[in-house]
């Protein structure tokens, strides 16, 4: 019998839902799972009919972190040259809007994975944390960098140095989470957000996502410059003509991806 796939992909165009599928290991982010995830995401990213992607776990756990068992048995030199952590950078190349649907535990690598998405929709049951220093390592897939950008130094240090978990409401107040939803509705609401995202002009969405992502990397003047160029590029698209005209004519626009 074939082993269960590490990730499940469900297309309900114009959105797709990718589900981490190692529930018995609390969706521990083993190397094969990360490879399967990146492969699935870049495949969806290449499909123009997919306008937004939801990434979720199950009701009890988004992902509880790296595969600690696997790490404990890994030689440090092998670990450094395995390219495991580098694989995570492939997420940055995904141009399609990516929405994390988080229910339950979202810890360590799981929290880093959620933060690498464009926005996070959290169930009331969600718990975010970076407990790495408790096992002698540190967050290695962007945790120290993205958490401080998301919630500021004071709370990021609290979370990283003490291992304290943020519940969904505190995470929302801190800016890690875009919306908190009823635990019964965590996936449905994230998919509803994805459908709203998917209904906007696709070229504009991708340019906007790029511009927001670059905000963390560049100074304000360069960021504004980049934003303006992205605006001119969007403005030159046929979809911009269509969108502006449809608004004036009070009708729904039809996007052509051109």
């Amino acid at each position: 019998m074939a082993a269960a796939p590490f990730v499940l992909v469900e297309r309900e165009l114009p959105i797709a839902t990718v589900t981490l599928n190692r529930p018995r290991e609390l969706n521990a982010l083993s190397e094969p799972l990360v490879v399967a995830l990146m492969t699935a995401l870049s495949e969806l990213d290449g499909d123009r009919e997919v306008r937004a992607i939801v990434l979720g776990g199950d009701e009890h756990v988004f992902a509880a972190g790296a595969d600690v068992k696997q790490m404990a048995a890994t030689d440090p030199i092998d670990f450094a040259f395995s390219g495991y952590v580098e694989r995570w950078d492939e997420l940055r190349a995904i141009a399609t809007p990516l929405i994390a649907a988080v229910s339950g535990f979202c810890l360590g690598g799981g929290c880093e994975l959620a933060m690498a998405c464009d926005l996070v929709i959290a169930s009331e049951t969600a718990q975010f944390g970076q407990p790495e220093t408790g096992v002698g390592i540190i967050p290695g897939a962007g945790g120290t960098q993205r958490l401080v950008r998301a919630i500021g130094k004071a709370k990021a240090m609290d979370v990283i140095l003490t291992g304290r978990r943020l519940d969904a409401w505190e995470a929302e107040r801190a800016g890690l989470v875009a919306r908190v939803v009823a635990r019964e509705a965590w996936l449905r609401e994230a998919q509803a957000v994805a459908r709203t995202v998917a209904a906007q002009a696709p070229i504009a969405q991708r340019l906007a996502k790029q511009a927001v992502d670059r905000a963390a990397d560049v100074g304000l003047a360069a960021g504004l410059q980049l934003e303006r160029q992205a605006l001119y590029l969007a403005f030159a698209s046929a979809d911009a003509r269509e969108g502006l005209t449809a608004f004036v004519e009070r009708r729904e626009p039809t996007w052509s991806w051109t």
Binding site: W169, V181, A182, E184, A185, E189
Partner: protein, 250 residues
Amino acid sequence: MVLDVTREQDVLVLTLNRPEALNAFTVELHEQLAAALKAAAKPDVRAVVVTGAGRGFCVGQDLDEVQEQPTGAGERLRRFYNPNVLALRALEKPVFAAINGPTAGAGIGLALACDVRVAARRASFVPAFVAIGLVPDSAASFFTVELLGYAHAFEWMTSNRKLDAEEALALGLVAEVVDDEALLERTLERAARLASAPGEAVGMTKRLMAHATHARLEQQLELERQLQDAATRHPAYAEQVAAFLAKRSR
């Protein structure tokens, strides 16, 4: 056992059982309460009743225990009281307090953390905290403000006035006052009725109301929408609607 746990069909009954000390809290009682609240979270438990054995409901911290470690209050709250208050509030089912007698200090916190309070005529309520130089704990400073409003809450907590059952009823602190010997039966009757309510609507209502204490109107409406959506997916709703329509067409 210093906490008796019994079952009346779908209702779990927790009886604080240190009658010689009017059911004052000890570490042992906290630990057994924590275990019982964990059991109470299981889905086959549809309602919970908390009551006291003997003459009292609960008179708060056992002072003999404090004698051994007089400055450990903060640690006691962090390790025992606070987790139990949170666990009790987190139960997505109705929790009833059957208040059989004197209630003081953290006993008030316990009673107010429940969703419905039924009091025996002989029940009485005294804050006790400020009178001995302590502040209200086990969420007594939270639930009194929520239930009574600031003015009544502050006046009562600081004056240390002893309320009898009728006064507590007049203030809205308890839902009903019954004869001493009828207390448990009456509370169980209320608990059984809510335990048999269709679907998860009672538990969801509790969640909504807990959310309302810190939500803006827009957020509250949004959570109502999501939970209503979930409630309509529960088979119990379809059954109730079908039963209603069948009755109407008859």
